[in-house]
């Protein structure tokens, strides 16, 4: 619950209502649905920081990969991503 994990947006479902804008996000091979309401600037191909099912920030690729690698090395990814229903 305390972590935020970076992932890459591979598809966006846009119904016209920003509150329900949902992205399919790839976290190193694991794909999850993420609410994009708080990151209107998020686009397909960009990296977002995801916390409790919401993108809280768009970040650049270098930062995303650096953070992902550290979380992976800490063994924190499995625990965090394992909690996200597929």
């Amino acid at each position: 619950m305390c972590l935020a994990v970076p992932g890459r947006i591979i598809a966006i479902t846009d119904t016209g209502d920003i509150a329900f804008r949902v992205g399919k996000v790839d976290f190193g091979g694991i794909r999850k649905e993420v609410n994009l309401a708080y990151t209107p600037e998020a686009e397909v191909g960009k990296y977002v920081l995801v916390h409790v099912g919401f993108a809280i920030s768009v970040i650049d690729e270098d930062e995303a990969q650096r953070v992902f690698k550290v979380l992976e090395e800490m063994g924190a990814l499995k625990e965090e991503l394992g909690e996200i229903p597929q």
Binding site: A19, N35, G53, M74, G75, E83
Partner: protein
């Protein structure tokens, strides 16, 4: 024994420790705000690597720790009801109330479910219209927008059987309260990164009266 094998880059750790030792010229008392930071510092034994001049003090930024026991008791009482699905972040289940934890209720066949996001709890409410679905909405500036969106979506979609048991806490007032104490020995903070991501880093800059304190 995964804690002994994971993240053990001895060379990198020694480089960082050496760089910190060379920088330090005077004693520092630094508080890490987040429970996640405390967890990592303790688990990895970082305090032993730091020079003796640096003292780390554990801060108040753990939602599990700052949720009042009265709220845990309320959560337990609600979760016991037979018409209820009680949803929570996994971290909250083992927190003891005055008599029981949510984990105890689950063990006694209460319908307590771990969810990753408040939106998952909302989904459960839509799938179980005959049940009352309650989400334990705890946390700081980081989880509040997510919980608010779940409430907004429930209202928008006309979901009548979804409720939040709310215990939200702000980080900056806790820092201010600490700094304004006459006995405060904290000279710097390791700040709460995700709070800054959501609120902006200015939100946790020290106030003028605590200008001698630094946030990193």
């Amino acid at each position: 024994m995964k804690f002994l094998s994971e993240y053990r880059d001895e060379k990198a750790a020694e480089q960082f420790a050496s760089a910190i030792r060379q920088k330090v010229t005077r004693p520092w008392t630094i508080m890490e705000i987040c429970g996640g930071q405390t967890h990592t510092i303790v688990k990895s034994g970082l305090e032993d690597l730091l020079p003796k001049e640096i003292t780390m003090v554990h801060g108040p930024g753990c939602p599990v720790c700052v949720t009042p026991i009265e709220l845990i008791d309320k959560a337990v009482a609600i979760a016991k009801r037979s018409d209820t699905i009680f949803c929570s972040f996994g971290d909250m289940l083992r927190v003891p109330g005055s008599t029981k934890s949510l984990f105890d209720v689950k063990a006694e066949a209460g319908d307590v479910r771990i969810v990753y996001s408040p939106l998952d709890a909302l989904k459960l409410a839509k799938q179980n219209p005959a049940k009352q679905v309650i989400f334990f909405a705890v946390g700081f500036e980081t989880t509040a927008p997510a919980n608010a969106m779940a409430a907004w979506q429930a209202d928008h979609d006309g979901v009548e059987n979804f409720s939040l048991l709310v215990s939200h806490v702000l980080v900056p007032p806790a820092m201010e309260a600490l700094l304004s104490s006459d006995n405060c020995v904290v000279q710097g903070f390791l700040a709460a990164g995700h709070v800054c991501t959501v609120m902006g880093s200015k939100s946790i800059s020290p106030s003028p009266r605590s200008i001698r304190c630094q946030s990193l």
